[in-house]
């Protein structure tokens, strides 16, 4: 699906052509895509919640558990680390809007210097996204060390699938950001390019919004 959405880029020939609403083709398609993603993540989250508490063996998210060998393990979710990564992702959304503003207002007063530079904010957003992915990689590996893999139990299967899908979305977003950054460095993004950043920003914020839900439903609620 990500392919489908990405395929929209450069696809439309709205530049020279009449459109009914005056809106950008790709922006409409992106919103439709986001609507579709609501159902995808809705299904993934539903599954996670339905299976919550139904695993036959540990580890569990919020409960301590005893392995067959008698070892006692603590609940597996690491709230402090995830809070930090949540914070990073939230801030990336701020960087993203600032990048958009910088492109839209390129050359206008108040948009000079580093804080008015779209390159800086694009890079910052991508870096925040990558940091989030780093946190996720850390989380996944430590879970595996504690004995939770995607095969262990229903919790493992639904947790890794849900957060893995989200992580994949972030990764696609980071690639997209870096592509835009690359273009910006090569030829400099102008206000007329803002629509491209706008569309990318929609995607990015949506991925952030999904995390807001996952963080609350998966990590915080016991």
């Amino acid at each position: 699906m990500a392919t489908a959405a990405a395929a929209g880029a450069h696809e439309a020939h709205e530049h020279a052509h009449y459109t009914t609403t005056g809106l950008n083709h790709r922006k409409i398609a992106m919103w439709a895509f986001i609507g579709s993603e609501c159902m995808l993540f809705g299904s993934l989250i539903s599954t996670y919640l339905v299976y919550k508490g139904r695993s036959v063996v540990g580890p569990f998210p919020h409960e301590a558990w005893t392995s067959p060998t008698g070892q006692v393990f603590k609940p597996i979710l690491n709230i402090p680390v995830t809070s930090a990564s949540t914070f990073v992702l939230l801030m990336s959304s701020l960087f993203m809007v600032l990048a958009l503003a910088a492109v839209e207002n390129k050359g206008k007063p108040g948009y000079e210097g580093l804080l008015g530079s779209s390159k800086f904010w694009l890079a910052a957003t991508a870096a925040a996204g990558a940091t989030f992915l780093g946190f996720q990689a850390y989380e996944f590996t430590s879970f595996v060390h504690e004995g939770l893999t995607i095969k262990t139990n229903l919790f493992g299967s639904s947790f890794f699938t849900l957060t893995g899908f989200h992580g994949t979305h972030v990764a696609v977003g980071v690639l997209w950001l870096m592509t835009m950054l690359f273009i910006d460095m090569k030829r400099g993004l102008q206000p007329k390019d803002a629509i491209n950043i706008d569309i990318m920003a929609l995607y990015w914020h949506f991925v952030d919004v999904v995390w807001i839900i996952i963080f609350a439903l998966v990590y915080l609620i016991k």
Partner: protein, 638 residues
């Protein structure tokens, strides 16, 4: 397929050389040619699905027959259902979306022409992926709704269901990509003056369908991912021993599955809503209500899925809610039926084949709808579910509804697509054979079902009181096969020798009839400015549209689009002469689709146990896909 050349007689300008030949079809981004590709491919699969049905029915002609083995039979009905739903009816609808939507809304193309080609190629390759295994006895065998755990690794360990899981995943990509495309097209490429409430009814119903796809397919995508991970990566989603719940699969599947049945029927409803007014010489009765009822059907369609699960023991509260919600859908659907009849009432009716099929849909769909309502009452449905009564219900709505509607559409639009008429005489034969055959096949199934015959059985015992009904059904199927062959003959011979049709052979009201048949690549030399729902009747039969609101688009919009009042375009000049920029043909969408296919095939290799080869295939496929995608995205459209 390559042999399909646009007939040259219809116009002075013959298609330029780059428009023929295999390569031109592989690289085309013209929505009309893509529509034609969809049409041919889906008709081919109709034949395949029909042959599967024929084998099924031959096996069931008499008790205790042994034409095919149990295992083959199970593959046959699974593939029959899967083929008919995903490779026949949806793509036939897509053929019409592609061909008609831009023409009906006065656009030169869809919003994303290359994405459009991509959708087709994903469908074509995905169709092969899921169909070819039948020649090796490896076709999917878990039923078209693939209930876990039978479809999971523990009880369905062979390759069979691999092809199903992956195949549906591939086909989902195609449908979703197309849906985003058409949503954008309909929102954003309507000609000046064409408000939403002036769109032709087919476009309206298609619009609703795109939303159903956008909302329903992600759900099955998730469900299939779980199954796919279970099968290939050892997750436990549907693993019974790990506490997995088979009902999760069922709920997810039917959250998709029920909207899916409206995805199948609404385009047919749309086509019929084009045919009836044309041949009644009267506008569609209750246009607004027709549009809103389509939206209602789509919306309610998301709240009834569990009526497929009345036997699983959901408890009385859930049973009641889903039962009543299901019944509600009868209301907007009934509204459509009555409005169609009212459209004809008082009209001046003509009965070309398309009209016969459209009327046939009204008559037959009603039967299927009523048996649907009978299913919606759980205590009664418990005696019907998983029997031939259900099989009767859904073939009346699918064959008597969707397929009949699509045939109506084919006969109606054949002149537009090819510039020639189909033979009415043979068409009449086709209709009557079809009509009788359909009732002979499916009506007796009501009886065999209520008399206790379960579905999905490859054989049954003598003396159960089912013999006569089964023999009738089988006889009817042979009749349907003959009808199908009559149609095929009509189709191909008319394409070669049919009488020439002009712009507007039927006296129809909408924009697609204002341009030559077949339409030039750019569709409209000048974008028409629309002042009412029935622009062509405004032009040619103004008395028919008197009572309908007319208004004009604002001058700025018209200027934007260089729009001119609706007129018939008879001249045929090339896009270059007219200075209309056309998108370049490109192979890249095909290559991306191919990359996806290779990527998914890697999983089959993985299941076969060749880890290194599997990784190589998947990485290779992914690299090929991403590379082609970047090439596509960085090359200019036109």
């Amino acid at each position: 397929m390559a042999s399909h050349a646009i007939p040259t007689h219809a116009s002075a300008a013959s298609p330029s050389s780059e428009q023929t030949g295999l390569w031109s079809w592989l690289t085309t981004v013209d929505h009309k040619r893509i529509g034609i590709l969809y049409l041919y491919t889906a008709l081919f699969y109709l034949l395949v699905g029909g042959l599967e049905a024929l084998l099924i029915r031959t096996q069931l002609a008499k008790p205790n027959l042994h034409v095919v083995s149990a295992e083959t039979y199970n593959q046959l009905f699974t593939m029959h259902g899967t083929t008919m739903v995903f490779l026949v009816v949806m793509p036939l609808s897509a053929a019409f979306f592609n061909y008609l939507i831009p023409l009906q809304i006065g656009a030169r193309d869809v919003a994303f022409p290359r994405l459009n080609a991509f959708s087709y190629w994903v469908y074509a390759l995905g169709g092969l992926f899921i169909t070819l295994p039948i020649f090796f006895g490896l076709a999917p065998n878990g039923g078209w709704f693939g209930y876990a755990p039978l479809s999971g690794p523990t009880y369905g360990g062979g390759f069979n269901m691999d092809f199903w899981v992956l195949g549906l995943q591939i086909l989902g990509i195609s449908s979703l990509a197309a849906a985003f495309n058409f949503i954008t097209t309909i929102i954003n490429l309507r000609a000046p003056g064409m408000t939403l409430m002036r769109m032709p009814m087919f476009t309206w119903m298609s619009f609703v369908v795109q939303f159903l796809i956008v909302l329903a397919f992600p759900v099955i995508t998730a469900a299939l991912f779980f199954l796919q991970f279970d099968r290939f990566f050892g997750t436990q989603f549907y693993e019974v021993s790990a506490g997995g719940d088979p009902l999760l699969w069922q709920h997810l599947f039917w959250v998709f599955g029920h909207p899916e049945v409206y995805i199948l029927i609404l385009p047919a409803f749309g086509l019929v809503s084009e045919v009836l007014p044309t041949h009644s010489r009267k506008p569609l009765f209750g246009y607004n209500v027709m549009a809103y009822s389509g939206i209602m059907i789509g919306f309610l369609g998301f709240g009834v899925w569990a009526h497929h699960m009345f036997a699983v023991g959901m408890g009385p509260v859930a049973d009641s809610i889903f039962s009543v919600a299901t019944m509600l859908i009868g209301i907007p659907t009934g509204v459509k039926i009555f409005n169609w009849i009212a459209t004809m009432y008082g009209g001046s009716l003509r009965f070309p084949t398309s009209m016969k099929f459209a009327i046939g849909l009204i008559a037959m769909f009603t039967i299927g709808g009523i048996s649907g309502v009978m299913h919606s009452s759980p205590p009664s449905d418990l005696q019907q579910t998983d029997t031939y009564f259900v099989v009767a219900h859904f073939h009346y709505v699918l064959y008597g509804g969707a397929i009949m509607g699509i045939f109506a559409g084919i006969y109606h639009y054949f002149p537009k697509i090819t510039g020639r008429f189909m033979s009415e005489k043979i068409g009449s034969w086709h209709f009557w054979l079809n009509f009788i055959g359909l009732n002979l096949t499916f009506f007796p199934m009501h009886f065999s079902g209520m008399l206790g015959m379960p579905r999905r059985i490859y054989t049954y015992d003598a003396g159960q009181g089912w013999d006569l009904f089964n023999l009738m059904s089988t006889t009817g199927t042979y009749m349907l096969m003959i009808a199908g062959l009559v149609f095929a003959y009509n189709f191909f011979s008319s394409r070669q020798r049919g009488a020439a049709a002009g712009n507007d052979p039927w006296g129809a009201p909408t924009l697609e009839w204002s341009i030559p048949s077949p339409p030039p690549e750019y569709n409209f030399a000048q974008i028409p400015e629309v002042a009412s729902r029935y622009p062509m009747w405004d032009l040619k039969a103004p008395d028919r549209t008197e009572g309908i609101a007319h208004s004009h688009a604002d001058a700025a919009t018209i200027a934007d689009a260089h729009a001119v009042p609706v007129h018939e375009e008879t001249e045929r000049r090339s896009a270059k002469e007219l200075g209309i920029p056309m998108p370049f043909p490109t192979i890249k969408p095909f290559m991306v689709a191919l990359g996806i296919l290779i990527l998914f095939s890697g999983l089959i290799v993985l299941h076969a146990g060749h880890f290194a080869l599997a990784m190589a295939t998947m990485l290779g496929g992914a690299a090929f896909m991403v590379g082609s995608l970047y090439a596509w995205l960085t090359s200019p459209l036109e």
